[in-house]
Symmetry: C2
DNA sequence: CCGAAAGTTGGACTTAGTCTAAAACTGTCA
DNA sequence: TGACAGTTTTAGACTAAGTCCAACTTTCGG
């Protein structure tokens, strides 16, 4: 269900690098559409976390946001991430040892955890197919994902 | 891979209830077979954690073991669980918010997380089938599991 | 028995995350 | 504009999970 678009990876604006930060106006509007009042802090946090492919932890978000907005407090970042999550702008995932991380891709998809670097990557929904989910006895399934662990075979030579 | 046996659930002695504790002698032998010296503390810890179906956290193991062995220290429980994990007697899983838990079923299998109670249940390996894992580009897959979330439809009326 | 190695212990320490109460903003309306 | 209420942010206290450590105890080989 939930018609995952066919994107192979990054059908989105392909942000990811450090100097992310989409137009603040667009971000403010995105927040408003989800019922979140766009304060300065919230826009600063959103401009990183809603655009990343990194699955960052809360403290990683804090560190990133402080670069551009040094006086933002930890409580604000934690509150805001929770708020975004409640409003459906983010998902919170718990995939690996001591890392609860946030994911701006709220549509169903799978995940790959690199055992060497700890990096988490998205796997598009229809890159994999899970059979027999509907045959599970006595379980009311709300959602599921495949968690794949291994190492990324580096295509980083040439 | 890793030829998961066909067990539907609990092909093992079906322990689970509180008064678990299989024969201490058998447990000591199991530890030795895995290269773990069977001290009194380790046998006490093993006799709970190697037989449970509960996926307990480290502190839950501590609480349980203290009932029968009140002077055991927290450090010992944490050390021992790590030791067991290194020796392949346990796996450590991170599936849900603030819960890294231990699993005595080290063969590949899937998991169900009850969103209401937080309980984690095993799903036998061939109750589900994941297709196209081998087609993932650039990833060296070491293991994978399906994580299913939902609620257990209570068969608890009659 | 002895000494070395392995195991255990309580408590200090660390880190992620939550909570709180006060301060700062924001929007509304007189 | 000025007052007010509601909302947001803030620093720092607090909590809980987990690690580390140095001292103590047990085990084992000789
Ligand atoms: Mn751990
Ligand atoms: Mn959280
Ligand atoms: Zn993701
Ligand atoms: Zn399991």
């Amino acid at each position: 269900m939930a018609a995952p678009r066919k994107s192979n990876r990054s059908a989105a604006p392909a942000r990811d690098a450090s100097a992310a930060t989409a137009a603040p106006r667009a971000i403010a509007e995105q927040l408003e559409r989800h019922g979140v009042r766009p304060s300065a802090q919230r826009v600063a946090i959103a401009s990183y976390v809603l655009g990343t492919e990194d699955h960052p932890s809360a403290d990683q978000v804090w560190a990133r946001v402080k670069e551009r907005f040094p006086m933002v407090s930890r409580a604000t970042v934690y509150n805001t991430l929770r708020h975004f999550t409640e409003k459906g702008l983010l998902r919170e995932l718990v995939l690996a040892e001591g890392r609860q991380v946030f994911d701006p891709v709220v549509e169903p998809h799978h995940h790959f955890v690199d055992d060497e670097t700890g990096a988490i990557r998205d796997i598009p929904w229809n890159a994999l197919k899970v059979a027999k989910i509907d045959e599970l006895e006595g379980l009311d399934v709300r959602e599921y994902m495949v968690v794949v662990r291994g190492v990324a075979r580096g295509a980083r030579k040439g």
